[in-house]
Symmetry: C2
Subunit: 348 residues, 2 copies
Amino acid sequence: MSTTRSRATMKDVAAHAGVGLATVSRVVNGDPNVSEHTRAMVHAAIASLDFQRNDSARLLRQGIAASIGVILDDMADPFFSTLNRAVENEATARSTLSITASSNNEASHARELISALCARRVDGLIVACPRGIDEDYLQKEIAAGTPMVFVDRAPLKFDADTVLSDNFGGAFDGVTHLIAHGHQRIACLSDSSKLYTVNQRILGYRRALESAGIPYNSDWEHADLTAGVSLEEWLKKISSLAADEQPTAFFCTNSRASVAVLRALRNSEATWPAILCFDDFELADVIEPGISVVAQDPTAMGELAANLLFERLGQRSAKQPQPDQQQKFRNSVVKTKLIPRGSAEIVL
Amino acid sequence: MSTTRSRATMKDVAAHAGVGLATVSRVVNGDPNVSEHTRAMVHAAIASLDFQRNDSARLLRQGIAASIGVILDDMADPFFSTLNRAVENEATARSTLSITASSNNEASHARELISALCARRVDGLIVACPRGIDEDYLQKEIAAGTPMVFVDRAPLKFDADTVLSDNFGGAFDGVTHLIAHGHQRIACLSDSSKLYTVNQRILGYRRALESAGIPYNSDWEHADLTAGVSLEEWLKKISSLAADEQPTAFFCTNSRASVAVLRALRNSEATWPAILCFDDFELADVIEPGISVVAQDPTAMGELAANLLFERLGQRSAKQPQPDQQQKFRNSVVKTKLIPRGSAEIVL
DNA sequence: TTGTAAGCGTTATCAC
DNA sequence: GTGATAACGCTTACAA
């Protein structure tokens, strides 16, 4: 009952039970080749010493970590936390620990996290890699034996396993949906055009306009809510246009943009245009009118990524397979889904 | 450039550089007692072999993990993800890895996670412990040498370090705020009354009524949105009352309840009562009217918990301190903050 | 069935 | 300065 200085080891258990170290190990691991008697002795010793096997020592010996790293932008973002949850589930199902870290989408921070996890010899990594990260470094770690699956964004300089959303297609379909509801003047509002995903969605937006034969107007593409013309100013500018010059619909390319736009509209006098947002968010159906969205499927993405990673881990531990087999990377694209809730189906 | 079978070890580096193993260790750890020449040789070998120190081996030897575990209900919940982020920051500042896991607020799952992390000998744990968890087990692990700090909810059977929100006080102040705005008939809507936090808030609600001399009406306390009378039915029942019998204000005791209530109101014909929600949420200010909330401070909670834990870890590694000093647990209560946004300031 | 001993990749304590 | 060598706590041949 007194404060134990430190946890009991197998050696302690062995001594206490008057048996050899290996026997304790056998008992702990359920090896059948132990007599009933000794097994009982060992169990008694284990109980009386509150022994619990030290997994890090075991794993060191076995040369595996039984853990994977998951590096995403921000766990507070529902998209990433849902994706992470899916990975966590897959990992748990394989008795593997998933170690999560938020990079804040900063290249240097992500690199540090990856480095820290590789130093601990995690078996593999699932990474949403920030723009500008040192890709040579990533490649080096992969070559050194830590497989990585990239989610949401792919590295630019080299081929790898990837799981991405259908950003382009989703945006295309969404904007086409707006067009189908009679909109011709459609604005495109983005958080930061520097993000890969946002960029793809902008391209999808442009292509949809193009396909419908609608002229492109660069004034309607507000690319960065933080720099240049602020969203409020932009809204004011738009409102001051003649009625038949104003956009009748807004396409928001990510949830940050969506929130900013909704907040700005809420605080302005402007009549609400039709709105379609890329990425679903809680309460989207509670706002009046319900916000129509192009929903991603982070759960599917997480599952796919995890399965891909564990497949790699499996074939790594197997006898060296055909050397070129190793190089075949898989690139999955997960479909998005348009969810109409009213806001995009308005005809002005 | 060929696929390295496995990562280089210090032994490999030593051989490659033609020096002893210990020397490599010295170089890697920046020990000054190494000649310039050998240092250069070793660095060359390290570079050519792409050597990276195996931290798990190092940590095993040093008997520490340089990592802590964080077990919370659900990382997708903004309250917990924000709390976790604060812990993560504190840990990073101490070169410590924080390993996060979601218990889903299930006792058995939480126990498994705690067990898995203790088996890996994390240095300590920050836990939001689910109701019904085996507290004897927790106590055993703590006694065995893994300090734990409990956040959001405290264990019932034993004393420990805790960091809690001022659930009672926050609810009391919130409901008092409603009363100050002329409300007398105030309903209290909860997700599940089985949650400790929700219970405290319900008690705060009752006490506020009592303090104001307002009679308590058990019909207005809808304790469980999932069981018994569904929220929709309850709303209908309430609406059918005479106008001067209906509650004029709703107090929602957690964010799940808030969302459910807002959604139900949105889909009903009822005129909106005054609304006050415990726990802030994104878009609370975008909904019309802006939702007033009693905001918690998960960042402060995470910081406090982490600091408490690291303090314990510090005094553990120090020479055995006064044995009774060890037993003084700290119980912090973090204040909440009332944020009026309009919904609670309505006078019907 | 059981014990001894050699690792896993480090760090730490010695000698030299 | 430098290099053996013994830990750390475990698994796993290999003997007995």
